[in-house]
Amino acid sequence: MGFEVSQNGEVTLVEVEGQLIVGNRQELKQQVLEQLEGGDRKFVIDFAKTGYIDSSGLGVLVSLSKKIREQGGELRLSSLNEDLRTLFELTKLDTLFRIADSKELALEGF
């Protein structure tokens, strides 16, 4: 379980491995906020290797999106599996984020 951060041009890509849940959400938040404070404005969080996101994890994505927008940036998401997409649809968070089928598509034209 962890987060892999890489740079793709101007875009910061964060890949979530394992779970994004109450026990590790602060770690993700801290990593993204450090990049934001360092000047990064374009973020993609990829869930291709993610098994599960709980409501705390969803909450941290909402919080990060808001903070990034406040700095004139944008957070996009990618690679939600069927279960994760169901959670986003149930909570209507699919209306709040731009969600791409893959990280490549998310990075394209960002």
């Binding site: 779970q19 849940i21 109450v22 026990g23 599960y52 709980d54 409501s55 705390s56 969803l58 909450g59 941290v60 909402v62 919080s63 808001k66 279960d83 169901t86 959670l87 149930l90 909570t91 209507k92 968070l93 209306t95 709040l96």
Partner: protein, 156 residues
């Protein structure tokens, strides 16, 4: 089992766990319960998604809000699988709350708030969600069309 807490009793396949007030125990606890629960394949997604999410949210709420992050307070988890019905009861040691006061997180004014989706997800994904009068115990029910069983032997 020590990282999960105490397996207090297990009678006739029922599972009872007493957890420490540590959010790091949630993931391993849910995984342990999921491993003990087995149903036929057509029920797998309802078990893996609906029950897993519901139980995780119930444990998070119990530790974060019910017990107010107090590591000295415990959370009791009771799981019963009967014919066609999987039931989990989660009890914290807090004062309880009124679930009717929790707002709908999907309304436009609440959609951008970081909190408030746990109970909503429980209600959306489980067939029954009920609270005791005090509001410190939630009972989740998932109906299983073809039944199932709790796997594993009795441990104490």
């Amino acid at each position: 089992m020590t990282h999960l807490g105490t397996l207090r009793t297990a009678i006739d396949g029922d599972l009872v766990l007493e957890l420490p007030g540590d959010i790091r125990s949630i993931e391993s606890t849910v995984e342990y319960v999921m491993q003990r629960c087995r149903t036929c394949s057509e029920q797998a997604r309802r078990l893996d998604l609906n029950f897993r999410v519901g139980l995780t949210e119930a444990l998070s709420n119990a530790m974060l809000y019910g017990n107010s992050h107090d590591p000295s307070k415990r959370v009791l988890v009771e799981v019963v699988l009967q014919a066609g019905r999987l039931e989990a009861r989660v009890t914290d040691q807090g004062p309880g709350f009124d679930p009717s006061t929790v707002p709908d997180p999907t309304t436009p004014e609440n959609l951008t708030k970081p909190c408030g989706r746990g109970l909503y997800l429980m209600r959306k994904l489980l067939d029954e969600v009920s609270f005791n009068d005090q509001g410190n115990q939630v009972t989740l029910v998932l109906r299983l069309e073809s039944g199932g069983f709790l796997e594993g032997g009795v441990q104490a």
